[in-house]
Amino acid sequence: MNKIKQTLVIFAAFFKESFRNKLEFFFSLGFPILFLVMFGFLFGGQESASALRVGFFSQDDSIASTMKNLKGFELKTYNSVDGTLKALENNEIELAVYFHDEKIKFTIKEGNPALEGEINTAISAIVSAIEGKLNGVKKIIDLKKIPVSSGSFITTESDYIMSGVIGISILSSGMFAVISIFGRYRKRGILNRLRATPMSPIAFIIGSTLTRFIVSVFSVFIIMLVNKLLFASKIVPEFVPLLIVVICSTMGMMALGLLLVLIFKEPQSAQSAGSVLFIVMTFASGVYFPIAFLPEFMKKLSMFLPVTYTVRLIRGAMGIIELSKNEFFFVNVVFAVLGILLLVTVSKLFLKAH
């Protein structure tokens, strides 16, 4: 059998295994979609879900009409203080406001970091409007808030979450797969048996890793489809750059998995180290929370984590952020070169005939 045929046979075997292995399929696709759906709905996938709702009660009609002119939140007026507080308790509003006798009472439910900024802005705007009205202050500074697209369209939070979820999916698909192939297969003696066959190591490497690219590309498109259907995403990616990013990033993540396989003799230890890295990267790579929120040491740490760059590449290819051509080229090349180098090294170590 020539090398191309060998590669195709190995590829077909791994491809079938990948899609038949329900657990692997779940972690590559089901798991990221679960996160996209949960976080997308919770953190503003739809515009209406992210608007702050403010409940207001005052017996002073002029103040009530001043409040109605305020923008930036949805205002609901109530007939009593109790009614306003009850609405807050029932999660119908996020901020209750009561004005009486030159006193403004704000009541909130604390603990939601996602709403802190919006609530503080609303409080400040309300105080400013009411105090301004009482003192006859004329508005002489107008601060216009102008949205700018960082890529090719105006994004929503679900677009950011989706691109982060894709980064994590590629990490999972690349890193854990090679730990399984080169760690577990070696431990079980499967690689030794393969060495006894006339199989070419290169054919094995290409055949087995090609499946990972297909799994990654498949996952990316399904996740994008879910995002479009559920959150009406306006993303129209440039498919060629996106494909390059998915392939190179998968190779980069494979390199990480292979590094763990080389460091840890036991596949279980490599798997555990991979799990630890997975968690660290989920939190410190700007996947679900912006890197600006992280404490200083985690900001520095994020610069050394490959998922940080994968997520930036994906966002760039999807038009969510603007990415320089140099960064796009350099990061992709680094991922690809590292992936190839480590694949060659590992294949020489584990697959070369005695």
Binding site: T107, P113, S124, P295
Partner: protein, 387 residues
């Protein structure tokens, strides 16, 4: 009893030696507590967050316009959340914003100082100084930076009026919290602690327990054990005791870290709180057994457990309260037991996030536990593989 204890010791020793169990049950809760408190613990204070903002000045501010400079200065550097970077043109600043090197752009156009002076002199709002702030929607840090900047500039008109008008009267502002008696008392780490505590319970009850049972059944370990004088019930009890012990070990470690390094309220040491934790553990244990009863394969158990674990964790409001979920998600939120269990623990600490009665907080988890126990009892032979 002696047999159960011997088996329990062996299981516990094996779990402690295994990195996976050791990591997820003992170390992961501490890492998660550290990460979440580092990220969200000081969001409200703004002390720990720095937002890089670009400022484009198209004129040198003079007269009343200097107040804008004062505002920017007072909110940047050590005084505030912003780090200011000056740009010569709006195009360059917008370019930096798009590339992510800054989070916000402020443009002070030509004529700002003269417009401010004219508006103050004529006491009119017809003439306004129009400043522009560019941000990226969807990008959380850019949106928050814009929110903070808006709040700051809301006060500038008032500040100018105060300086001009000696009779200016400020309104009194009172901030209350529905969750705590006083708004100032809220502490994110105290809020977070019950969430992470409940997460440790979920790891043991939803992830570890059903997988161990299914794996032992599928690998034939159970049958080998039953060829000894160990009965299925003894094996199950030893397994449950091991799960409880691992959880308690993890919880003790979390308590030590939280009390030593974080300003967590001492109420977490109260008997009521500890009681609420044990109630959570006892009511969640049958849940894992129910999964093992309903799902056949170990691989499927892993997937189902993961789905339930993540759903119960995030939709249960373990790390942040869920206030604005769509209707379908609200149904799930009101169905899962973690919503009630975490609220129960938080109420003991003096926080209240929902209008559910205390009675409901106990009833719903008990109903789940009862249902799960009944399902498991009917499938006992199948789960323990001694048919």
């Amino acid at each position: 009893m002696k047999r159960i204890l011997t088996l329990w010791k062996a299981f516990l020793r094996s779990d402690l030696r295994e990195f996976e169990s050791f990591f997820w049950s003992l170390l992961f809760p501490i890492i998660l507590f550290f990460i979440l408190s580092s990220i969200f613990g000081n969001l409200d204070s703004e002390a720990g967050i720095n937002f890089k903002i670009g400022v484009v000045r198209e004129e040198k501010l003079t007269g009343l316009g200097v107040i804008i400079d004062e505002v920017l200065k007072s909110t940047s550097g050590e005084e505030g959340p912003f780090v200011i970077r000056e740009f010569p043109t709006i195009e360059e600043a917008k370019d930096a914003l798009k590339k992510g090197s800054i989070e916000l752009v402020m443009r002070i156009p030509k004529g700002t100082s003269s417009k401010l002076a004219a508006a103050t002199l004529l006491k009119t709002s017809v003439i306004k100084s129009e400043l522009e702030m560019f941000y990226i929607p969807g990008n959380q840090s850019s949106e928050i930076a814009a929110d903070i900047m808006s709040s700051v500039f809301n006060q500038v008109d008032l500040e100018i009026a105060k300086r001009k008008n000696p009779d200016y009267s400020s309104v009194e502002i009172v901030k209350n919290s529905l969750t705590t008696e006083k708004a100032e008392e809220f502490s994110y780490v105290t809020f977070l602690f019950p969430g992470v505590l409940l997460m440790t319970v979920l790891i043991v009850t939803l992830m570890d327990s059903p997988y161990t049972l299914t794996f032992s059944r599928d690998s034939g370990l159970n049958r080998k054990l039953y060829s000894t004088p160990i009965s299925p019930l003894q094996y199950l009890i030893a397994n449950i005791l091991k799960a409880v012990s691992m959880n308690i070990l993890g919880v003790v470690l979390l308590y030590i870290v939280a009390l030593s390094f974080y300003p967590v309220d001492n109420k977490i040491l109260s008997l009521k709180f500890i009681g609420a934790f044990f109630f959570s553990l006892v009511t969640m244990l049958p849940f894992g057994l129910m999964i093992a009863s309903l799902v056949k394969k170990a691989s499927a158990v892993v997937a189902i457990s993961q789905i339930l674990f993540q759903t119960m964790m995030f939709l249960g409001g373990l790390y942040f309260p869920i206030t604005n979920a769509p209707p379908a998600m609200k149904v799930i939120i009101h169905t899962i037991p973690t919503t009630y269990l975490v609220e129960l623990m938080r109420r003991v600490l003096g926080y209240k996030f929902s209008d559910m009665s205390n009675y409901m907080l106990l009833l719903v988890p008990i109903l789940w536990a009862t249902g799960a126990t009944i399902i498991f009892s009917f499938n006992f032979k199948k789960v323990m593989a001694y048919e």
